[in-house]
């Protein structure tokens, strides 16, 4: 599972903070290219498998405002 966050919209700090919060639920890998921060999610807890991607994105967005 992979999420591409546009660098024009999302901040690395918010993504890093979100990874810390979600750390217990899955394994996270990060990389970036010219336009995007890319988050790879593996070993996802079965209980949250269907929602983790969406919840992760929401949390990053929530932190953008703070």
């Amino acid at each position: 599972m992979e999420i591409k966050f546009s660098k024009d919209i999302y901040k690395k700090r918010a993504i890093n903070e979100t990874i810390k919060v979600f750390n217990e639920l899955a394994k996270f890998g990060t990389k970036e290219n010219k336009n995007n921060f890319i988050v790879k999610i593996t070993d996802i807890d079965k209980d949250v498998e269907s929602v983790i991607k969406d919840e992760f994105c929401n949390y990053v967005l929530y932190l953008m405002k703070k």
Binding site: D54, L61, Y62
Partner: protein, 114 residues
């Protein structure tokens, strides 16, 4: 819990809706809907909505409408904040300057008594 695949999106012209306004409106709605932001080739922000479990299509449409209203609200607040920034600064400067002025008056009175 019923999962669904209801989605919606709209494009926000960045020249009309500052990104800070989009963040602000999104902050209000992240507990009701999943939101993901992308940019198109022209630099506009595409706001993607995905319904949370047990949300009907009708609910999602309502949420998107409310989001658009909230976006307008935040955009207005952002605009007013920018306009009033100078006025706020002047008020603070005046308040600080006034308090300095009061101390000088007290010293003047003592000299007069002497």
């Amino acid at each position: 819990m019923k999962n669904n695949n209801y989605k919606s999106s709209f494009k926000a012209d960045i020249s009309l809706y500052p990104i800070e306004s989009i963040y602000g409106a999104s902050y209000v709605f992240v507990d009701k809907v999943y939101i993901f932001l992308e940019k198109d080739a022209k630099g506009n922000v595409i706001i993607n909505f995905k319904a949370k479990p047990d949300t009907t299509k009708k609910d999602l449409d309502k949420i998107v409408g409310e989001f658009q209203n909230e976006l307008l609200n935040y955009t207005l607040r952002h605009s007013l904040s920018k306009t009033n920034k100078i006025i706020r600064q002047r008020i603070i400067e005046r308040a600080l300057y006034s308090s300095i002025g009061e101390e000088e008056d007290i010293w003047s009175d003592e000299e007069e008594v002497k």
